[in-house]
């Protein structure tokens, strides 16, 4: 942690960055995002395995942009998110400083190549309970899956916390806010929830870097991360394309290969 504090102080004092986005103590034993712009309060930054929210979601917020060049304390999935956002023209590696901490050694990643190298070296590892959930659902029949998701999604009351937590959900007017025509029913009944969650999954297919922030954010504990994990799995299996690896990658869903294969179009 000291190395992180030292680095944060240096960056702020040198004026290289105007704000450090990192993790600080939250209520109870939880951790919450902190935005440090004064060198003295650099020591508020903490770094342990409780730090799991995806801080990249704050990089494009107008309030942060107003402050100037931000630095961000990044877990591997945050680095992947930044690479994906760069490939979607939302960020430029030149005006952010990414701090990665590996067993108390802090290093700065300030260009595409270093981000990509770091991301390549840190594949996503699912916690055991997620692995188990994925396996359970995979073994279900289509009826069982229908029942499972109907039950889970029935708890959704359209608070859209998942949308707020996801750094890749950066649309200013979301599909759900569209009422001419009303693509997604507003009410949080079975149909409205189904339409929202399948659209969220389709929109993140080939883009979700599986950081799990949406699952963390869901107040009623629906494992909605599984949906976007499945969407990205389909894209990787069918088209061999993985998000968060290259800053100049072509997005899987807006490109194609003549030799894409399928068996159901007759």
């Amino acid at each position: 942690m000291q190395a992180l504090h030292q680095k944060a102080k240096e960056l702020l004092e040198s004026g290289k960055v105007q704000v450090i986005i990192g993790y600080g103590d939250g209520s109870g034993d939880r951790v919450r995002p902190v935005f440090i712009s004064k060198a003295e309060s650099a020591s508020d930054l903490i770094w342990d395995d409780r730090c799991r929210q995806n801080l990249a979601v704050y990089l494009n917020k107008p309030e942060i942009k107003k402050l100037g060049v931000p630095a961000i304390v990044a877990t591997p999935v945050v680095v992947k998110t930044i690479i994906q956002l760069i490939s979607e023209n939302q960020l430029k590696s030149s005006n952010i400083v990414v701090l990665v901490v590996d067993n108390d050694v802090v290093s700065e990643l300030t260009d595409n190549a270093s981000l990509e190298a770091y991301s390549a070296g840190h594949p996503v590892v699912f916690p055991p309970f997620v692995v188990k959930e994925i396996k359970d659902i995979a073994e279900m029949s289509i009826q069982q899956r229908n029942k499972y998701w109907q039950d889970e999604l029935s708890r959704c009351f359209k608070c859209y916390a998942c949308r707020a937590a996801c750094p890749l959900c950066y649309c200013e007017r979301c599909l759900t806010d569209n009422n001419q025509p009303q693509w997604v029913c507003v009410a949080s009944h079975a149909q409205g929830n189904f339409e929202w969650h399948i659209n969220r999954a389709m929109h993140l297919a080939g883009r979700c870097v599986e950081c799990g922030s949406c699952t963390i954010a869901c107040p009623v504990g629906i494992p909605i991360g599984l949906l976007t994990i499945e969407a990205s799995r389909i894209v990787k299996q069918e088209f061999g394309q993985e998000p968060g690896l290259h800053c100049d990658a072509d997005s899987a869903m807006s490109s194609f290969k003549v030799e894409d294969t399928e068996t159901f179009i007759k």
Binding site: I137, I142, Q143, Q144, R145, N146, K147, Y148, W149, Q150, W183, V184, C185, A187, H189, A190, Q191, G192, F194, E195, H197, I198, N199, A201, M202, A205, G206, L227, E230, A231, I234, V235, E238, F239, A252, M253, S254, F256, K257, V258, D260, E262, F264, I265, K266
Partner: protein, 145 residues
Amino acid sequence: MENNFEPKIVAFVCNWCTYAGADLTGTSRIKYATNVRIIRFPCTGRIDYNLLLKAFAQGADGVIVSGCHPNDCHYTSGNFHARRRWIVFKQMMEYMGIDMRRVKFSWVSAAEGAKWADIVNTTVNEIRELGPSQEYLEMSRQGVA
């Protein structure tokens, strides 16, 4: 037992190939079932998967999506993008428990009038076997009621 359930099926087709193929079915006077209504799109690339969701929500029992064969697309790549979209959408729907046998994807060129009639007839028979689309209707009714 004579199954005389008449399924309601909507077909999303591309104007340059399948719509023209259906025209050819007409000019060749090939008869087929009346259950299908065709909606014309400039290209399969234009067909939004949300339309399928809306169709089922409105009580459709089956959907046909058809367009140009690969490399035939009037706009060179609309059907390739559509293919990628359907590959992901089909598996996502099945992952969330929706039986995708009610959706028929096909390539029908402007010269395949007979094939269009055959697709319509086989789809109508298959959907008749599956019966009315229960799980989606329940989902809509359960919420709205």
